[in-house]
Symmetry: C2
Subunit: 581 residues, 2 copies
């Protein structure tokens, strides 16, 4: 090794030792006849000291070093006169007797420090420099630790990691598949998997019993803050289990991760029906770091000639505790917030529970004191609280109030990134109506089993059939989801029929799986966690981009490297394709 130790290792225990360090020049300062240089590597920072009186040439050389030069320096560990107890190495410095420049460096385009002066675009363009910064590198270390802990946990429970193919067959949901022209079979294409779903089910048919994989998946969609064209899943499947076993096994995984990575004892994860989550939070991924549940007010507010409420399918409210002192301007801000096009509400009604106990509403002329008291009771307001009410179509108004609830959570500081609240959401609908294609789609995927007691509803009320499907939500983010699968050919065929496939189409696309079900498929189910999202939660980040070493930018290009790129005519000819731009 070029070094004898790292820049994070030396303490007062090492006094007198002769050491050699390698690393980057973090900063340098001259003080009288002395020069101090902080040398940095992944493990820490150590102070090097040079003295004009001891060795002019060496000290001059040190004074000529620029930021981010890569150096190798040797000397004796001595005690610092001016100790920095905040740093693990802050009690010592190295009295340098030999210095070598391993590589020079141009001045970096932004400061390589915890707080940088580099804007987002610059940081991304020079991602390899951004990754030198502690906060960004630490995200990658957290990611590594989570992956290791996941594997340890699952290996300990007899799960086997099996690699499934990346070059697969395109499927009917393939509109979002990336495709790969095949050279050997000109005119044909592989697809990149959106998930290893069918392969892991085949592994269950093969008797693998417990499978997992931390695996790249691909989806050719527009990018968002929390979506990349390539993403990583923790993909898991078990045989001979029921839903309860999956929930227990993977609640155990998440609690283990919180314990090992954050030193945090996550309490038992509460469970909520999908229908209740929609009713109480207007969302299938409620942020349960704070309460502020919806209160349904139809019975109380209707029939008082206030047309907005009378004409609404649903009137709901939340209690923003301690917000009675909101100014007119603040309330207007909230109204503007919900009127944004992406939320699309038309208005907001408030009930102010003043400190003196009096009640004031924005619709006073329709509701008297007595009636407002009934609002207050239903919404459980106390003096000092501000209730916020919205009305409209059930599905829409729930979504809108859900957005307002999250906004109030932000304003009230109830969504701290170092607080963690997990939730199981259970019993999702099996099917959801798609307006565009005018047919039902599988809410989870077509391999999800319906609840046996609801199968009879498939023909009559398909939208009411519940699935054996479950999501894990942490802090309002869906981090994982799964289901008990269909393992019976006839039921799988019925399911495809309800999704609008002809028998021929179903056989053509998924025959390989349905055929496999005829050779002894065990009952099985599983779950997949969004690894990027999970890591971003553990790292306390809003976006997944900073838990990915080399993310794509918003136009799907590598942050540094100009990809995608054109390929040449010769190669296109070999692939028997051509571009039609």
């Amino acid at each position: 090794m070029l070094r004898t130790t790292t820049c994070g290792a030396l303490t007062i225990e090492n006094l007198g030792e002769n050491v050699t360090l390698c690393g980057w020049v973090q900063k340098s300062r001259d003080l009288g006849g002395m020069t101090f240089i902080d040398i940095r590597d992944r493990y820490g920072i150590t102070q090097l000291v040079f003295n004009m009186d001891d060795n002019i040439e060496l000290c001059e050389a040190a004074r000529n070093l620029g930021r981010e030069f890569v150096i190798k320096a040797s000397g004796a560990v001595v005690e610092r006169s001016n100790k920095n107890l905040k740093m693990p190495t802050g009690e010592v410095e190295i009295k340098i007797t030999a210095l070598e420049i391993l590589n020079a460096a141009k001045l970096p385009p932004f400061l390589i420090e915890d707080e940088t002066d580099g804007g987002d675009d610059l940081r991304m363009k020079y991602r390899y420099l951004d990754l030198r910064r502690n906060p960004v590198r630490n995200n990658m270390i957290i990611r590594h630790k989570i992956a290791q802990a996941v594997r340890r946990y699952l290996d300990g429970l007899d799960f086997i990691e099996v690699e499934t193919p990346v070059l697969i067959k395109s499927t009917p949901e393939g509109a979002r598949d990336f495709v790969v022209p095949s050279r050997m079979n000109a005119g044909e294409f592989y697809a990149l998997p959106q998930s290893p779903q069918t392969f892991k089910q085949l592994l269950m048919v093969s008797g693998f019993d417990r499978y997992f994989q931390i695996v790249k998946c691909f989806r050719d969609e527009d990018l968002r803050a929390d979506r990349q064209p390539e993403f990583t899943q923790i993909d898991c499947e078990m045989s001979f289990i029921e839903q309860e076993d999956i929930l227990n096994t993977f609640e155990g995984l998440i609690r283990t991760l919180f314990k090992e990575i954050k030193g945090f004892d996550l309490p038992e994860v509460p469970r909520m029906q999908y229908a209740d989550a929609m009713r109480l939070y207007g969302s299938d991924k409620p942020d349960t770091r704070f309460e502020m549940q919806f209160v349904e007010l139809n019975d109380i507010v209707k029939g008082k000639d206030f047309p907005v409420f009378d004409n609404a399918e649903l009137v709901i409210g939340i209690n923003a505790k301690g917000c009675a002192n909101y100014t007119r301007k603040q309330v207007d801000e909230l109204t503007d917030f919900i009127k944004r096009p992406q939320i699309g509400a038309t208005g907001l009604i408030y009930l102010r529970h003043n400190e003196d106990g009096s009640l004031k509403s924005s619709v006073d002329k329709f509701y008297n004191e007595e009636e407002l008291k009934r609002w207050s009771t239903a919404l459980n307001t106390q003096p000092g609280d501000l209730a916020l009410l919205m009305a409209g179509n059930t599905e829409k108004v729930r979504k809108q109030l859900s957005e307002l609830r999250l906004e109030m959570g932000n304003r009230l500081g109830l969504r701290d990134k170092q607080t963690f609240s997990a939730l199981w959401v259970l019993d999702f609908p099996l099917l959801e109506w798609d307006e565009e294609s005018e047919r039902y789609h599988a809410m989870h995927h077509p391999f999800t089993s319906p609840k046996p007691e609801d199968i009879a509803l498939l023909d009559t009320k398909p939208g009411e059939v519940r699935a054996n499907a479950y999501d894990m939500v942490i802090n309002g983010t869906e981090v994982g989801g799964g289901s008990i699968r269909i393992h019976d050919r006839a039921l799988q065929a019925l399911m495809f029929k309800h999704l609008g496939f002809s028998a021929e189409e179903a056989q053509k696309q998924f025959g390989f799986l349905m055929d496999a079900f005829e050779f002894g498929a065990p009952p099985h189910g599983g779950i997949a966690f969004g690894f990027d999202r999970l890591c971003s939660i553990f790292a306390g980040l809003d976006s997944i981009r900073d838990v990915i070493a080399f993310p794509k930018n918003n136009s799907g290009r590598d942050v540094m490297i100009d990809s995608p790129s054109t390929i040449d005519e010769k190669q296109l000819n070999e692939l028997k394709i051509k571009t039609t731009v």
Copy 2:
């Protein structure tokens, strides 16, 4: 869980317990009024017993079970009268009181047993059934265990696993790249990586210090027994190291794997110069499970008017110990072997060292007894040995004799799959001449550093420049290879120039890396292991196909699923490409 324990767990310790097992019907036999069923899962096989006298209905149900039916069976653990001590569960059986069919099964197309009657094609078509067989499933378990052990070892040495992108930019070696049309950037293409080489070097520039990844890579080439279009690498890189550190670190990895997976103490791995490997074995990946080194005979055999030897650039021989009793027919077989078109030799000369001490050669008329004695001495033959000599152009004859040496190793049983011999091959040439393109190519890749003392030869004798490059060879298979990289912009630019790139081309293709070198790149180097090959060696297999759960067949199609497949017009339009078949 549907079961209380697995089919591999019950022993005499569990007598009297009431248990429930789930699994597949392995076999069934009726014996008087009794029916015995072997139930199988991933963990083992347990015998179930049913008795007509106890419960006719249940016993009849058992008699109706077919092979591979999935069942759930409950009963008490009892001692077997007829014990099978070869099985862990062979002392007990379960006296069944409840039986449920979880799924029926059609008769499988081949026997689900260690030795199957299924041919290769049938096994592949029904891979999900083939994977139920112990030997195939055990390969996947070995693979899982190796992956876990690799991660444990490297994590213990502060290596961080970082995921690098799969959708990247196409590069000039891109002839073998798979390409992926981009929807967002119509007319442009991503490429799938042949290795994460440049990304891991950027991570070193970022100060990650020690990186690894077990990662899928892609190469669009014709398939062979040991090559798949998608393959897995253990990819590693370290900073502030010299070649010696890489060799030690990864020799440690391989020895750890042998210890943990095979219980085998691999001895210290010997090292050999590339030039010596070529001289002694005619190969840069010699199988060192056996000696049979080449002996160069020019000095001894030339000048005796035997034109084949006189005209040859090189005459070499090996000593096949104990083969003096080879018949004429056997020697002819060897001659036919080396005359095959894929080997292409023209003839074979032998020297038979008879048991009585006399020497006999196929070219007696050119060489007298005295001269043959000198051959014998050089080749170190003893009575009973057979030396085999070949002559020709140095490069060709070495390759040819290398094939013959391996063939003799096979014939003499010297290549046992449960014997392991590892070797480091060092100091590869930096460049190799490519006849087709009439220029030098990088033997390893363009980022490999030349030996400093050889840089001066780049202009005069480029073919003689040695690289800081090394391979690990096990049992004649190259399992890993790597190099100390260039970390200096000027040297990297010089390298590209020698590879025939213009400065503009080099900047266009690899500017992102060369630019990064200017911001403080540390000295670094690494290695990549072919994970599939490594697993096949540990599993004692010739082909990598059986360490891959779902391999491609020889036409690049998924073994079961008809992939690649055509995609529809609409999708092609969206991607702005069309096929030209």
